[in-house]
Symmetry: D3
Subunit: 160 residues, 6 copies
């Protein structure tokens, strides 16, 4: 692991790190997060029995689109080609658990794209429930797993 911040130079100035020498290759990142709200709100989000259930679909699609906007949002992220994005939402009890899986064949990892997908899906859920539960909270947004690249497989340590 690095011992210095890679995104600032020795004087402290921000930079987009040069990745010219990194090899293209298959990479994957999985990130998760959870929107904590109430059981009533989760029931409204699921809309069981209604002909259209756009609430969760809206968050799924917003998450996928959010992954594509990562380099527009995170200043020092490289613009890269994304090979695939899946956003899964599991609504149970008073929580909606968000999981994003992002794949690339490009030169950098896609943790930031996966994290951005999770947060944009979470913001979208928040937007939809805020009139009913303004106190909803987006929690535990983090990377669970990375594959590919020079560092290979990384899984989240249990004590973090």
């Amino acid at each position: 692991m690095a011992e210095e911040l890679t995104h600032v130079d020795e004087a402290g100035a921000a930079r987009m790190v040069d990745v010219s020498d990194k090899r293209p290759g298959a990479r994957l990142a999985v990130a998760t997060g959870v929107l904590r709200t109430t059981e009533e709100v989760v029931s409204l989000l699921r809309r069981d029995g209604l002909p259209k259930g756009d609430a969760l679909a809206t968050a799924r699609i917003a998450g996928i689109m959010g992954a594509k906007r990562t380099p527009d949002l995170v200043p020092l992220c490289h613009p890269i080609a994304l090979a695939g994005v899946v956003v899964d939402l599991a609504a149970e009890g008073s929580d909606v658990r968000i999981t994003a899986t992002v794949r690339t064949t490009d030169r950098t990892g896609v943790e930031m794209e996966a994290l951005t997908a999770v947060t944009v899906a979470g913001l979208t859920l928040h937007d939809m429930v805020k009139a009913v539960d303004p106190a909803a909270t987006l929690d535990a947004v983090r990377v669970e797993r990375k594959e590919g690249g020079k560092t290979g497989l990384w899984t989240r340590p249990e004590d973090r």
Copy 2:
């Protein structure tokens, strides 16, 4: 408080709610969140003693710019004029606490803009520390306070 999701119609279809009848007026929202990492990383982010300290500045600026991108990211959010955005970062112990305050004089509240500022600042911090601490987590992203509009002052209840 509403008892139904306002962003979907009775059949469950998503829509951008008509706010033509809402009055323009001064509104404010404060949102917070926290990036949990390690003491070593927080020390690197603060860069005490270095001539340039762009790490925290990058996150502050990304948060401000993120607030402006809210309607691009959150599908059912109205595009509105923002009158002011402040993003404050407090780096202490192993945490960076993020606070965003957004003001408008337009027709809708700005909770989503404040929440988006917090999450984009948090994603940007994550991007900068990920080579040193890939297990960093963005937690407790939530609205603390709203002022203005028809509902007036709202502060987060202590039990949520």
Copy 3:
């Protein structure tokens, strides 16, 4: 009706027309279009009986988001506040009929926003069906009705 193109000056140069003197006020535009495909594809899009029916939801949401991107896409369009956007999809026979209704309280009409919502919803449907029916066609994208502004109500003449 105008007898000259308003968006170019007397020498033919493009410009964003000055609307400083126009009054803000409630305006509405309704636009429609139709994706012509096959009965089999329409049946796949409706996904009757499946737990999630994201195909039509994706197009609805893309249309709503597309309305917000209008000034980014159409060079001489004014960036304006949108008060509400509804995109309705009716899948019957071999067609999906798209209707977008856009409202504003700003200084210009919202025909372009309604037309953009229809076309982006149509493009999104095309994207989803293209592996099954690459010959799908987006037809008859047009304004049906406008209300508000100096010209007041306009409805499409029957002979056009």
Copy 4:
């Protein structure tokens, strides 16, 4: 040809399909569409004899820029590198016929980019003529030809 929608999974949830295993290679797509208006309007658009003829140029440029915005607009489209974009406008009689040719050397086809170029050029024409002919209609937006990729050459069947 596929028999299922590729952009939703077996439960119906939307996803950006994983193309990691597709080979990069030269691909091309040609799409067309037509703006139907009046002879008078077509004459105004052509501006014969005027020193500057920005009306058609504005639509051509908007179409080229629109092709680049495809992944921002169409939720499940991959962000890819475009190698070339040409938008041709033929104004004759009461119609403006739009043809877009898009090339890539990336992992996916570029039908959506070609269709987006056609529709954004068409929307831009509509914007310019709407004060003179609010009833103008964008018709017959469709793919005419694709080359490259696993499926190779595809041309539009005559009966569609």
Copy 5:
């Protein structure tokens, strides 16, 4: 005139200044700049005698669209409604002189929008001539005149 930078607070942190208390009203800004190249290149840009003269049109349109992107590009700029944008190009000798006039009825001045229109038009000209004259230079990008708002009329002093 201010004696402190308004865009950073007393500790030096960047912020989007609160303009809630500013009054909406008609404002205008004129900015100019010049692309210095060669007489041969200016002649190519003007394309006298050719049926289509898209080179200068492309720069004009890019400048107008650039004005709309100002808050996306300049971190601390407010997103505001633009009421009108004109970009004028005068190609003479070895120079192309760019003039942008931007109008609003909103709460802030539009100098930055006018400057952004000039620079984006200038970048676009540079892009078009760079294969012929890679040494072209964009010079003297500056505000010439402002009207409206609390400070009223400002014209550039002759000694600057």
Copy 6:
């Protein structure tokens, strides 16, 4: 060097040139520019002795983000992958000198990305100083050096 504008065809119509046949490879471009203001303003920008110095950081970050937006701004630019971006600001006397270095491994040069980084950094500086010095001027925006691609090394001739 070319003798015709590459970005318009023989009839004068704008196009995004086909680069399918160009080889990917390491390329670099360095561009510079200078914001001319006053000694007092330069001193305010440097904020020596203050805990946070976000003014210059804001311009650095805006420049980096601006490089990524180049294909959104410059109509005929190809969307390409950027491998690295550095923006350096040197504030001395009454000037702030801006230098941007951009790297890619893609199919086109990155002069436009470097020039866009310089101009967006310059616009951002202008935005921050405009309340103190509305007469500030962005000057001498130009390419200094290119490496890679078919043409190889190019350095700015001394007489331009």
